[in-house]
């Protein structure tokens, strides 16, 4: 009377992956702000760049992908906001940006995830988030070259990497590892940015040259930056922001 099949492995891809493609379909450009190294200013660069692109008339989304230490919301001064559920999640608009972060759900609680769980959370977040039409989606990637970077390579094939380094020897080798990984995987690299320049060296520019990638410019170490955290208007008046504006110009001309 019929055969029963159970515990089968179906040779069709994870349905969530096709949903992710659909969710990103109307996003023109995706910039992945990464470094490999922590504490080099990825979140500040990602947030400032998003704000400037938005103020220049572009429709911009910002995704804070850091599950363990999200911080873009602190820079934006976003508090007490809950996303709207409508056939998924619509990212709330903050300072003109469609902003998505795990912080909406965990607030100040720690979220200790192991590797596979981080990957699962990332897939779920991309699956549920409805970005709509965007000119730019900026993704702020946490430190490391494991889960988040591998998942971006796997799932956001149109993403171009914007790599951040500081001139410290403690950062350079890790950044070089990320570049090697991206090169090996043939992932597009938009360019390399030097942040917190306080030494008169050109080590980051040399690094870019050695890998034949575009050096997008340097951002000086700006002691005036800390008091601007939480106030996008103040942030956009800093020396840091002026340097980011130059970099934004180069990103535009480099087909970001």
């Amino acid at each position: 009377m019929g055969r029963i099949y159970k515990n089968f492995k179906v040779s069709v891809p994870d349905p969530r992956l096709s949903i992710i493609d659909e969710r990103l379909r109307r996003v023109k450009r995706i910039l992945i702000v990464a470094s490999g190294k922590g504490g080099v200013g990825k979140s500040l660069l990602a947030t400032a760049l998003s704000l400037m692109l938005s103020r220049s008339g572009r429709k911009v989304g910002l995704l804070d992908l850091d599950f363990h230490g999200p911080s873009c919301h602190i820079i934006l001064g976003a508090k007490g906001i809950t996303p709207v559920e409508e056939k998924g999640i619509i990212p709330p608009e903050i300072q003109g940006l469609r902003f998505m972060s795990v912080v909406y759900y965990i607030d100040e609680k720690p979220l200790p995830l192991r590797g596979t769980e981080t990957s699962n959370a990332f897939v779920e977040l991309l699956t549920i988030t409805r970005w709509g039409r965007l000119d730019y989606l900026i993704v702020d990637v946490p430190p490391g070259i494991a889960e988040e970077v591998l998942d971006i390579i796997r799932l956001i094939k149109r993403g171009k990497f914007l790599i951040v380094a500081t001139p410290s020897p403690l950062a350079l080798q890790t950044v070089a590892r990320l570049i090697k990984l991206l090169r090996e995987q043939r992932v597009p690299i938009l360019g390399l940015v030097e942040n917190m320049r306080f030494l008169d060296t050109n080590s980051v520019e040399e690094l870019a040259k050695s890998f034949d990638i575009t050096f997008l410019g340097h951002i000086p170490f700006d002691p005036g930056l800390e008091p601007s955290l939480g106030s996008p208007e103040k942030l956009l008046e800093t020396k840091f922001a002026r340097a980011v504006a130059n970099i934004m110009g180069r990103i535009d001309t480099n087909g970001g």
Binding site: M1, G2, V102, Y105, I106, P110, L113
Partner: protein
């Protein structure tokens, strides 16, 4: 279901069972409605589809304790909603009831999956 049925050369899918993990609190009515629409004109159109909820199970990696969602204390409505969207957020809201560790794995009751299909050729 259709992919497996095709692979096995089925003429009919007589019966199927779909499991709904309780962690994500998927609404059975929505699944039924969606299946009704999606199965029109396919081998699933006349299939008897049963939906069954599966308990959420956790296993502590620190002390080995196994427990379910119902015996977890303190997750609020907002937290349940968060886990509905991203189940791994359980690590922010739930702790092992025996040793209070956040280091656990979700061993059951996550997502939506097909347990079996019964076909005729």
């Amino acid at each position: 279901m259709l992919a497996v049925a095709r692979e096995k050369g089925a003429k009919k899918i007589i019966e199927a069972k779909i499991k709904l993990g309780k962690l994500q609190q998927v609404d059975a009515d929505i699944i039924t409605q969606a299946l009704g629409e999606l199965s029109r004109g396919t081998l699933l159109e006349k299939t008897k589809i049963m939906l069954e909820a599966e308990e959420t199970r956790f296993r502590c990696l620190a002390c080995g304790h196994v427990w379910n969602l119902e015996s977890s204390v303190g997750s609020s409505e907002e937290e349940s909603e968060a886990m509905h969207f991203v189940p791994d957020l359980a690590h922010a809201f739930i702790r092992c009831p025996r040793c209070r560790s956040p280091d656990f794995e979700i061993t059951g009751g996550r997502g939506v999956w097909v347990e079996y299909i019964k076909i005729s050729r």
